[in-house]
């Protein structure tokens, strides 16, 4: 009886809370979308994950690329949100017929944030240092480059073998340009060439960029951008409803009605390369049997993840739609618990118990769906929720796991399937050969075609399962324009961001 009363009481409280939050709409002033853009506006963008330091040369993590690339640091070339490659510090570039020589025309009159001029020698030094410093991230992405030279404003890269991934890699960390011999403390400060300068970093709270008025291109359309790090979605929603943020990234599409209630925000869903990857340790034990892996794939109802997140799309292979080499592979592992049970029986596996190692910052919905789906076909899944450093040690480094879940956000990261030492523990000579061939291809279409072939084999081998291809879920204030919506976990280019004062 007491329990029932308690239940009734909490139900009442919850509905009261819902009622209160629903009422919220009426009290906040909705911004007028017709207002003129304010060139000195301060725009506040909610982000989830704060970088642990700002040294983009060395410290891994999408949290750094997300804000620093394009806005603070630039490369010779850059990528658009649609993943096209376009000029940046170089006004133009050419690739020789044989794919062995890349020449870039460096723009003149560019200065770093501290006022020093950008020289061709800075470019040569930056790329050479990156390639030759193993502790720097992505240094191996320039491994094919044999010489980097400058003559006038022309930068020339020569290669030992053609590399169809080089231009893309130059739009990432590997291609960022720094000042030679700079003494700046990259961990907490910066000296880039981009349209914004680092104004303030209040650790555990926010990072503020101010407009660089000396920028070589079109200057930014806002005076400053504040990245507010608010890990919890409910807290982010509250901040939005209280009018404290202009843009909410990494949002939960299930909260669409709440955040759109008073007309101050609009929820935007963009494509992304975020792949919810369920890795199988296939070195030994039942998971070494392809039939068992395939059974697990077919036991999982992938639509369930899309429904739970109210966003995203299904993915049945290692390459998402935004990347070259994508094809719809849904026929490889359709949802079919019957077939899954039959495969397990064929493999002679009974009462299978597996452990899923999952970093604790992911939604608990993911393991819940997996436990229930696998239970349907007689597989018991135990969930080991660990913090990320533990995951890095146990799973990534020591390969001590059965199943692992991580959201891989990197674009164009097929290379991991061609690397048998990677934690995916997938070793297929044919895939490795196809990948190598794709890298060496001089025609982009041919390279993509070879990747697609390799990806199909990876999926047919049930080398892993891809639970979903997440969407970038962004709630944008109606007085904000120019906020990118594609792949914002990887990159937020602020060049067009504007805020009207309405």
């Amino acid at each position: 009886m007491l329990r029932r009363t308690a239940l009734a009481a909490s139900a009442l409280l919850v509905s009261a809370a819902l009622l209160l939050s629903a009422c919220a709409g009426g009290t906040t002033d909705a911004p007028t979308p017709t207002g003129e853009p304010d060139p000195d506006a301060s725009a506040v963008i909610r982000l989830v994950l704060e970088p642990s330091n700002l040294d983009i040369r060395q410290t891994a993590g999408a949290a750094l690329d997300q804000i620093l690339v394009d806005n603070i640091y630039e490369g010779l070339i850059r990528r658009t949100p649609e993943q096209e490659i376009e000029p940046a510090l170089a006004s133009d570039w050419t690739v020789s017929e044989d794919g062995l020589t890349y020449t870039f025309d460096l723009r003149e009159g560019i200065t770093f944030h501290d006022g020093q001029a950008l020289t061709p020698q800075d470019v040569v030094w930056s790329l050479t240092t990156r390639r030759d410093t193993p502790a720097f991230s992505d240094s191996q992405r320039l491994a094919n480059v044999t010489t980097i030279t400058a003559e006038g404003q022309t930068i020339t890269l020569t290669l030992a073998a053609p590399d169809s991934t080089l231009l893309w890699n130059l739009t990432g960390r590997a291609g960022l340009i720094f000042k030679e011999g700079d003494t700046v403390d990259y961990k907490t400060a910066e000296n880039g060439t981009g349209p914004f300068v680092l104004d303030d970093w209040r650790q555990g709270d926010s990072i503020t960029f101010a407009r660089n008025d000396q920028y070589w291109g079109d200057t930014a359309k806002v005076g400053e951008v504040v990245f507010a790090y608010i890990p919890d979605n409910q807290a982010a929603l509250n901040a939005a409803l209280a009018g404290e943020v202009d843009v909410v990234t990494g949002f939960d599409a299930n909260l669409e009605e709440q955040i759109e209630a008073d007309g101050a925000y609009e929820l935007v869903l963009g494509a992304s390369t975020d792949k919810g990857t369920l890795a199988f340790n296939q070195t030994s034990g039942p998971l070494a049997d392809k039939r068992v892996r395939q059974a697990i794939r077919q036991a999982i109802d992938h639509e369930g993840f899309i429904e739970a997140a109210a966003s995203g799309q299904t993915l049945y292979g290692p390459i998402p739609e935004l990347d070259p080499g994508y094809e719809d592979l849904s026929e490889v592992a359709p949802y079919d618990p019957e077939a899954a049970r039959a495969l397990l029986e064929e493999a002679g596996v009974e009462d299978l118990t597996l452990t899923l190692t999952i970093p604790n910052f992911y939604s608990t919905t993911i393991p819940q769906i997996l436990v229930s789906d696998l239970n349907e076909v007689g597989v018991t899944l135990e969930v080991d929720s660990v913090d990320f450093p533990t995951w890095l040690t146990d799973v990534y480094t020591n390969h001590d796991f059965d199943l692992s879940y991580v959201l891989h956000t990197e674009a164009r990261d097929f290379e991991n399937w061609a690397d048998p030492t990677y934690y995916f523990t997938y070793d297929n000579a044919e895939v490795q050969a196809l990948y190598k061939e794709s890298v060496a291809a001089t025609d982009p279409d041919e390279a993509a075609e070879l990747l697609a072939q390799a990806a199909r084999i990876v999926s047919e081998d049930a080398a892993a399962d891809w639970l979903f291809n997440a969407a970038s879920v962004v709630a944008v204030g109606t007085n904000i324009t120019g906020m990118p919506s594609i792949n914002v976990n990887a990159r937020i280019d602020l060049a067009d961001l504007a805020k009207s004062d309405g």
Binding site: A60, P134, S137, T188, A235, A239, F388, V406
Partner: protein, 316 residues
Amino acid sequence: MIRYTLTRLALLLLGLFVASVLIFLTLRVLPGDVAQLIAGTSSTPEQVASIREQLGLDEPLVAQYADWIGGVLRGDLGTSLLTGTSVTEELAEKAQVTIPLGVFALSIALVFSLPLGVISAMRRGRAAGTALSVGSQALAAVPVVWAGMMLVVVFAVWLGWLPAQGFPRAGWSDPSAAVRALILPALTIGIVEGAMLLRFVRSATLQAVGQDYVRTAAAKGLTRDAALIRHGLPNVGLSVVTVLGLQVAGIIVGAVVIEQLFSLPGIGRMLVADVSARDLPKVQGELLALTGFVLIVGFVVDLVHRGLDPRQRETS
């Protein structure tokens, strides 16, 4: 009293030393290290090894401990492996949020728990006393996070009086904004801690009611309430001072949770971030400072308690 103080001081120092060893060793048991985190999920073992060497993580444990303690004795708590900033500086910066938050929370807890606790005891068996008792019981059982959410929904989202999260970027140079930012978080901790304190004050008062000296005073002509207030309350006060030490520890734990919930850049949020980044020199400096703080509060409380209680003075 001097001898007592010295003994107590020796115990404090011993406590600090033991704490430093425990903190250092427990952190070394945590799996994963900062080099791996820096290198990330597209790194090679060579890359991790080279970062580890660069950060001095390959040195023997004893050398690392000696290094740290040597620094602490010189007043240097250490340096962050990730940002290179001094732990002392970071603590001083974050303390500008956490100390006011703690002081606000404790004041709120005291302001409502002391009078209400006494009233609830004095009105025991009557409607007001029962309501207070049941109310505090219920509030003490409320999870801090839930209490915080409710306050945000009502005061920030619904009424729009106070900010839902965050601390002004201008910090204390904008005092009214800073205070406004801390009201809801402090209320959240204060209410939950205060409810616990209320129950403690109530039972301490009830105990005093039954004491011979209160009955004697009542027999000599004072009303029961007057007897309790004049002769009982000083004793209640003593018991409250003793639990204050524990309350301070409770408030620090509360701050860790609440700073996450309200996105406040304080010591609690920094600590959680540093643990998940495995920035061990920073974490151990922060933990030692917090432990030291709690131990020192306990030390002061003991001395005050002894100073206030004439019975203890006589027996020493």
